[in-house]
């Protein structure tokens, strides 16, 4: 492999990055080769020390994708960035497929299915309150009946709040967990880079 092959292969592997980021990296590598040459280092020597462009690009790609999760401003963007990063990292580290992908898939599914259910429960609140309001006229203004309706309303409100807040935290922990997972994986990739 020569310098030109290294750069064009690197460019290929960095395809997922923005053009700006990719050109920045290629520019840096050009500079690196140029400086090495001016110090009298041979191209072969530099290439050998740099390692393969594939492995070289792995860490950069994975980190760029994780960064996208952090910088995404809306939740849908965060979620799609999350899946992108997940895919990039899973493909790089095969053992993840067995030990991580299945549990993660289950939890992800739970969250995807869970939110519509939670929203349905939340939407039930005004309906239930409305029904209770009309029940007041139905049962007449008796103290015990009114109190039981009131407590039922409070109870329902409490349940809905608990479910919504609870599931919100579940989702939050899920995203924190996924971010942690990415960090571990990036460490794994880095170590692999050293090993090779």
């Amino acid at each position: 492999m020569n310098k030109q092959q290294f750069l064009s292969e690197l460019e290929k592997y960095l395809n997922d990055l923005s053009a700006e980021e990719r050109n920045d990296i290629l520019r840096d590598m050009e500079e690196y080769f140029r400086e090495a040459k001016s110090r009298g280092r041979s191209e072969e020597d530099v290439l050998e020390k740099l390692g393969s462009p594939k492995i070289f690009s792995e860490t950069i790609i994975a980190e760029a994708k994780v960064k996208r999760i952090r910088t995404a401003s809306t939740w849908p963007q965060k979620i799609s960035a999350g899946f992108g990063a997940l895919l990039a990292i899973l493909l790089l580290t095969p053992f993840n497929l067995i030990f991580v992908l299945l549990p993660l898939l289950l939890v992800t599914l739970m969250i995807i299915v869970g939110w519509p259910i939670v929203l349905a429960i939340a939407l039930s609140l005004p309906v239930v309150l409305l029904v209770l309001f009309f029940l007041i006229f139905e049962v007449g203004f008796k103290l015990f009946a009114l109190l039981s309706l009131l407590f039922f309303a409070i109870g329902w409100f409490g349940m809905v709040t608990a479910v919504v807040v609870g599931f919100f935290y579940v989702t939050l922990f899920y995203f924190k967990g996924v971010a942690k997972l990415f960090q571990w994986n990036i460490q794994f990739i880095k170590n692999r880079m050293k090993g090779e």
């Binding site: 090495a36 980190e63 050293k194």
Partner: protein
């Protein structure tokens, strides 16, 4: 050396050098390679990450020989972080040395 052991130390080495003065990429790699046998391909991704985490920032400067070079400069945030890392390292290595020479 054990790769697990290396990666944190490499990060500290890069930061410790940048705390002294600004370096351009090749210069930094060359300096570190003079003292360790770290694979050169690992330093550049590390520099990108340190830049992303705002420990260092970059600027282009004209060089006498050809196109401009990209220099890495430490931020205030990076200085603070580096001081903490170096302090941790000093404590850690002092204790390891004590342990190595421990007579039991």
């Amino acid at each position: 050396m054990n790769p697990q052991f290396n990666k944190g130390i490499l990060e500290m080495c890069v930061l410790a050098l940048l705390a002294k003065r600004d370096f351009y990429g090749f210069e930094l790699v060359e300096t570190i390679s003079n003292y360790t046998d770290i694979s050169e391909g690992t330093i550049y991704p590390l520099l990108r990450r340190l830049t992303q985490e705002k420990y260092v920032e970059t600027y282009l400067q004209e060089s006498t020989s050809g196109p401009p070079r990209k220099y890495y400069r430490m931020t205030r945030h990076g200085k603070k972080f580096t001081q903490e890392l170096i302090q941790d390292w000093k404590n850690f290595s002092a204790n390891v040395n004590k342990l190595i020479h421990l007579e039991v």
